[in-house]
């Protein structure tokens, strides 16, 4: 137990400054400072506001995580950090902190992928990830279907949204229905008292010729908004609960249908769902129903681990240590468009040594 790697992870890809500490697959601390309220009046994350907040919050959040975990920094086996994808300036604050911390403590540094971290976090909830695992990541920022053979080295994109993120659609519809914000939880609540079959809203990209694993929520968003407007224009009352239920059903129907199909097509018997939308009760229920019918085991971490946090970065970092993956170099940089196929950013030192030998031998 104690020889499992003790890793601190730093996440600053968007508006949350997250610092988590794990030992192997055990969560020890998950400290978060959020600048979400500072962005609210702009209707979206303002990168410069987020970056300024990360700089302010970083040292206190590291301190808090260490206290929460009850460990000493010198006992850490490595420092992991989100190297991308995300907002460039925001990522760079976290990368700078992680590099300085690792260097000062004399520990290896692991620059890791944000999306792979969202998958790996489930190890803290349900133990080691089965290999392979299919992962559905859905939030205000992501909607993708990924196949992971080995979370430290092999993550393959199966599909992703071609327009809006799923979480975005929830926010938009909640706004049109005057339900307040954020949209996810409130739609979920109203939908429970509504009829999901009351209105037949379109299922995007589900035609026979459409990309099997890609998503589209922009058309649905527009269709729901138009339906509501038409009701209002006709002077009729909008059946909020039925609209919420029918809209939500359209989203989670497509998400779960495509995820289960991908599992079947690839012969994968595990599906994990991560990202903020994973907290949606209907998504969980329908996914469970369809997974059970298809003989697939469903894994969904608790909501706090589904949204952006430092523990997920630490979880992937610990896996990098456990599997002896190459550490990153001191010149690690933030990569706002780090491909999902790169679970981490290994250093190049050893490569140079090898190539030198090849050159002169």
């Amino acid at each position: 137990m104690t020889d499992e790697p003790l890793v601190l992870g730093i996440e600053t890809s968007c508006d949350e400054t997250g610092v988590g500490i794990v030992r192997g697959t055990t969560l020890l601390a998950d400290a978060i400072a959020s600048s979400v309220d500072e962005h609210a009046r702009f209707g979206g994350v303002v990168p410069e506001v987020a970056s300024r907040a990360h700089l302010e919050a970083m040292v206190p959040t590291i301190d808090r995580a260490l206290k929460e975990a009850g460990v000493s920094a010198k006992d850490l086996d490595g420092i992991a950090v989100t190297a991308g994808p995300g907002l460039a300036g925001a990522l760079l604050v976290g990368v700078s902190a992680a590099k300085a911390y690792a260097y000062a403590l004399g520990k290896p540094l692991y620059g890791v992928n944000h999306l792979a971290s969202h998958i790996c976090v489930d190890q803290l909830e349900h133990g080691p990830l089965p290999e392979p695992t299919m992962a559905l990541l859905v939030s205000g920022g992501h909607s993708s279907l990924l196949l992971s053979e080995d979370i430290t080295s092999d993550v393959r994109p199966m599909g992703s949204t071609i327009d809006d993120a799923a979480g975005e659609a929830f926010d938009k519809i909640a706004r049109v229905l005057n339900l307040g914000f954020p949209g996810g939880p409130v739609i979920d609540r109203y939908a429970r008292e509504g009829d999901p079959e009351a209105i037949a809203f379109p299922r995007g990209l589900t035609g026979p010729r459409d990309a099997a694993y890609d998503f589209s929520f922009s058309g649905l968003k527009t269709a729901v908004a138009r339906w509501i407007e038409a009701k209002r224009a006709a002077g009729e009352e909008v059946p909020v609960r039925d609209v919420a239920a029918s809209f939500q059903e359209a989203v989670v129907d497509v998400l779960t249908r495509k995820a289960v199909r991908a599992c079947k097509d690839e012969g994968v018997d595990h599906l994990m769902i991560g990202g903020g939308v994973a907290a949606n009760s209907r998504l969980r229920a329908l996914a469970l129903e369809r997974c059970e019918a298809a003989g697939i085991r469903l894994r969904v971490p608790r909501p706090k681990l589904c949204t952006d946090n430092g523990a997920m970065v630490a979880a992937l970092g610990a896996e990098m240590v456990a599997r002896n993956r190459a550490a990153s170099s001191w010149d690690l940089s933030a990569d706002s468009s780090l491909p999902v196929t790169d679970p981490h950013v290994p250093g190049h030192d050893h490569v140079h040594e090898v190539s030198k030998e090849n050159l002169y031998s």
Binding site: M58, A88, G89, S333
Partner: protein, 218 residues
């Protein structure tokens, strides 16, 4: 005393070690787009050159700008985190003060100006190399031409706008060596150095990227 000084508020990524008497090692690279990549290797190199380990450092000095934000934060975040890990104090010094010190002008007044992009400069005026009179501020060169008329000027911002700063000269960029020497001098004189807080001077641009996470009021 062993001070580690660093500054990333200008296109220069600059690092120096100062033992209280002299600068014992330093490095400066000019590359405005790679502060994040260059800083840590530079710290490592400077320590190796001096034959010392980071644990030997008794204080960290960091340029607090003003300067382009993304680069500026690399230095500040690095300094803050070194302070946390080593348990040593982190001191902030205005980057323009470092340039003024390096200019080594005994009788002013003179101007220090750096490039603030968007056709503006970060600038301050000095009575001598150790005494700031005004600023720092951010302005368009043409708008301050009257205030700086006839004054000698240093820094890349002055060199960039000869119409406003006809007598601009070197140094172009700040050096951590100058910053370290200035800090050592102030500490020896018993002066208290400011906390490492960024001098942004401008409000953040409220630009929300398209197709990114939506954040809305609760």
């Amino acid at each position: 005393m062993l001070l580690l000084a660093l500054d990333t508020a200008t296109p220069a990524v600059t690092v120096a070690l100062h033992d209280g008497t002299d600068v014992i090692a330093s490095s400066s690279q000019v590359d405005a787009r790679r502060h994040g990549e260059l800083l840590l290797p530079a710290v490592d190199r400077v320590l190796a050159e001096a034959g010392l380990k980071l644990e030997a450092v008794t204080g960290v000095v960091v340029g607090t700008g003003p300067g382009p934000y993304t680069g500026l934060r690399v230095g500040l975040m690095t300094a803050d985190t070194f302070g946390l890990a080593l348990g040593v104090p982190v001191y902030g010094l205005c980057t323009l003060d470092g340039l003024a010190y390096a200019a080594d002008i005994e009788k002013g007044p003179f101007v220090v100006a750096t490039d603030a992009r968007r056709k503006e400069v970060y600038w301050a005026t000095y009575a001598d190399s150790r005494t700031r009179l005004t600023g720092p501020a951010v302005d368009r060169p043409a708008d301050i031409a009257e205030q700086v008329a006839g004054l000698p000027a240093v820094g890349a911002g002055a060199l960039l706008y000869p119409d406003t700063f006809p007598s601009a000269h070197e140094p172009e960029h700040v050096s951590a060596a100058a910053l370290a020497a200035l800090a050592a001098e102030k500490l020896a004189a018993g002066e208290e150095l400011p906390a490492p807080r960024p001098l942004y001077l401008r409000r953040p641009d409220a630009q929300v990227p398209k197709n990114y996470k939506v954040v809305t009021p609760k």
